[in-house]
Each structure stands twice: as structure tokens, then as C-alpha cells.
Symmetry: C2
Subunit: 225 residues, 2 copies
């Protein structure tokens, strides 16, 4: 069998979630880097070539066992079912539901409102909108902090790393990018810190990706400082 192929980009928090899940499950995979900026080139997520892979024109996408999977949480759910060994959902049904709910809070309630396309559409000049992004992330983090206070142990849900943690760490990085003081959310900050040194999270980090630039663009300065 050929290795799974992940369409990924160092800048994308959605692809990052899937990279963490793949590394946690110790699945060996190849990466095809795709730009999430509109470049007009074939390697751009808005290109005709990529639209055939994902009609939503978003990364990530995962080619695996002859199928192309889209949507980060759907991909992680697939990995969880197909590779059950290192599980990303707790055994208890209510803990499992909590892990899914936290993942949905991030993937439906926070990230979509701050993604590049929406930021750019929110401004007449079509540029990044830091104010817009930080408003939605701050609102979401205030709620998420209260949710996590109830569910956390070492990580988002109890003491096991779950799919919720795969979603949290990239979202915290986005918060830093948009200059949010993450320490204002002590539970979020603590969980994020606890995961930084985990091998799977280190391997999945943007700085470890083949398309990570030698010089970080200015708009990412606060994320990587």
C-alpha cells in the first residue's frame, strides 16, 4: 500500500489538526504542500486542480486507501475508526461527546469566523482584518475557557489526549497570531503548554513543515515570537 498523502500548508490551522492526529496515531504519511493564499498557480487551494480534490477549495485533504477525504474533523474521525490503536476519543460515551463538542466549538464556532477568506471579505480593501479575527477568537475563547474548566484534567477532556487537543493547539497559535493574550484564558494556556513538548505535536508544528519559510512573514510575527 502506498503512504497516505496529506495536502497541507504550514499556515493552515485546519491541516495542522490532521497532522497532529496522524502523528499521534503514528501513521507514516507524505505531504503535498498547497498554498492557502490566492496565487493563481496550480499549487494554490483555489486552483482548478485543487478544486477537483476538494470542491470546497480548502485544505486539508487526505488521500488514503484510494479515497480522497476532506474536512479536518471528518478525516480525524476516519483515522479514529480505521486506526483505533492510539485512540483520540475517550471510552466513556459522555467524555467522548465532550471531546467532540469541544472540537466542534473550535472547528465550527471559532476558526471559520477568523479564516483568511472571511477576514478579507469583511474589509472593503480585501486585506487581513486583525480586529475582526481577534474579536471572534476572544469571544470563542471566553466560552471555551468555561467549557474546559469543567472537562479538563491534564488535557481538554480528562487525562487523555483527544481530538479536542488536536484542534486546540492550532487555534491557540491563531490566537497568538492575532495578538490575543492567551494567558487571560488560564485553562487554555495550561493545556496548550502541556502539549508543546509531546512528540506528535512537535512533529506537526508549522516550523517542521517543508514549506515553512526561512523568514516568517510579518503578519505571523506574534505567533512565532
Amino acid at each position: 500500500m502506498s503512504k497516505p498523502l496529506l495536502y497541507s500548508c504550514w499556515m493552515s490551522s485546519c491541516a495542522w489538526r490532521v497532522r497532529i492526529a496522524l502523528h499521534l496515531k503514528q501513521i507514516d504519511f507524505n505531504v503535498k504542500t498547497i498554498s492557502i493564499l490566492k496565487t493563481g498557480e496550480p499549487g494554490d487551494q483555489y486552483s482548478e486542480e485543487f478544486e477537483k480534490i476538494n470542491p470546497m477549495k480548502y485544505i486539508p485533504a487526505l488521500e488514503i486507501h484510494g479515497h480522497t477525504l476532506i474536512e479536518s474533523l471528518s478525516i480525524i474521525n476516519y483515522l479514529e475508526e480505521a486506526y483505533p490503536k492510539r485512540r483520540l476519543l475517550p471510552k466513556d460515551i459522555f467524555q467522548r461527546t465532550k471531546a467532540r463538542a469541544i472540537s466542534d466549538v473550535i472547528c465550527s464556532g471559532i476558526q471559520p469566523l477568523q479564516n483568511l477568506k472571511v477576514q478579507k471579505f469583511s474589509r472593503p480593501d480585501g486585506n487581513l482584518n486583525f480586529e475582526w479575527a481577534s474579536f471572534w477568537i476572544s469571544q470563542g475563547f471566553s466560552s471555551l475557557e468555561n467549557i474546559l474548566k469543567e472537562s479538563t484534567g491534564d488535557y481538554c477532556v480528562g487525562n487523555e489526549i483527544t481530538m479536542a487537543d488536536c484542534c486546540l493547539v492550532p487555534q491557540v497559535a491563531n490566537a497568538r497570531r492575532y495578538k490575543i493574550e492567551v494567558s487571560s484564558y488560564p485553562t487554555i494556556a495550561r493545556i496548550d503548554k502541556a502539549l508543546q513538548d509531546h512528540e506528535a505535536f512537535r512533529k506537526a508544528h508549522p516550523s517542521q513543515q517543508p514549506d515553512f519559510p526561512k523568514e516568517v512573514p510579518a503578519s505571523f510575527a506574534s505567533q512565532f515570537k
Copy 2:
């Protein structure tokens, strides 16, 4: 055991998804109606009382077996595991992943961008923004139509009703509300039509909810015409 209690509102497409799933699974439940508009009253999703139920200040929430569940897809996943009898995910793992991906496209890629809070934030005067909502739904539907063309049989994924159908029908209603010509997306329109007469979908319809008003507000005219 007491009946499950759904926090719901006739206006909310997210609560509608869960109502469909509950009816498909023939689970008897009670409804507590909550306003999704900012009313300043205790029955408002932004109230302090409701924030204790869901810190995200969104409906739906489901009280069941002594637990309070949030996030529509997480609730539907719970129902799928706890009440497996009338299944909402196909048996085949790739079909199941497809049903999840279509649900995520709607619940992360379309609905969050057109919800009331985001629409109102997008305008200096804080009013509804039909242009904003219809832009994001149209963009999403163009992609979704292409995804569904590949996966559909009678419904979103093959010939079984899945969680993707629970998400599709309320999103099509939102499209009509924001004056999108749904017939421009023939696969979406056909699936939506095929589900209208299904008993579970009829029972879950906004018009069958206890808080449905005698006179439909003007901003909903195109949805209910």
C-alpha cells in the same frame, strides 16, 4: 427515566438538525423554547441562565440521562452511539466519512458564516445582512452541489438518510430565507424535496414548533412562501 429536553427555537437551523435526528430515531423528547434574538429576558440564548447551560450561548442543547450536551453534530453523534437502532451513519467506513464530511461542510463551512451574530457584526448598524449571508451560502452551495453529485443516491449519501440530510434541509431553508434560487443547485434541490414529506422531517419543521409565530416575520417571508 425522564424524557430528554431539547433547548430549541423555531428560527434556529442548528436546533432543527437535532430535532430531525431525534424524530428519525423516534426518541420522545420535550422542548424548551429559547429565543435566539437578544431579548434581555431569561428565555434568551444570551441570558446568564442559558450561559450556564451552554457557555457558547447558542442553542441547541440537549439534557439527557443527567448530562447537558452542546453542539448539534456532537449531539447527533451521541444519539447515533446511544440509540443505534435507526442509524444515521452508513455502515461502510468511506460512506460514513462522506456523510460526516458533508455535515462538516454545512456546519463549519457554511452555517457559521451566515448566522445572525456574524451578519449583524458585519454591518456598522448591527442589522441583518442579507447580502453577506447569501454570498456565503451561494459559495458553499456551489461546492456542496459538486460534492453531492458524487455521493448522492436518493439522499446526500447513497439511498439511506444520514446525518448529512439532517444538516442539509435546514441549510436549504436558510438559503431560501436569504433569497437564493435553490433550483440553481439541482442535486441539493432534489434531495431537499425528497425529504420534505418524510414524517421525521415534517415533525421537525419550524412550522410545527411551539414557538412558531402566528405571523411569520417579514425577514422570513421568502423561506415560508
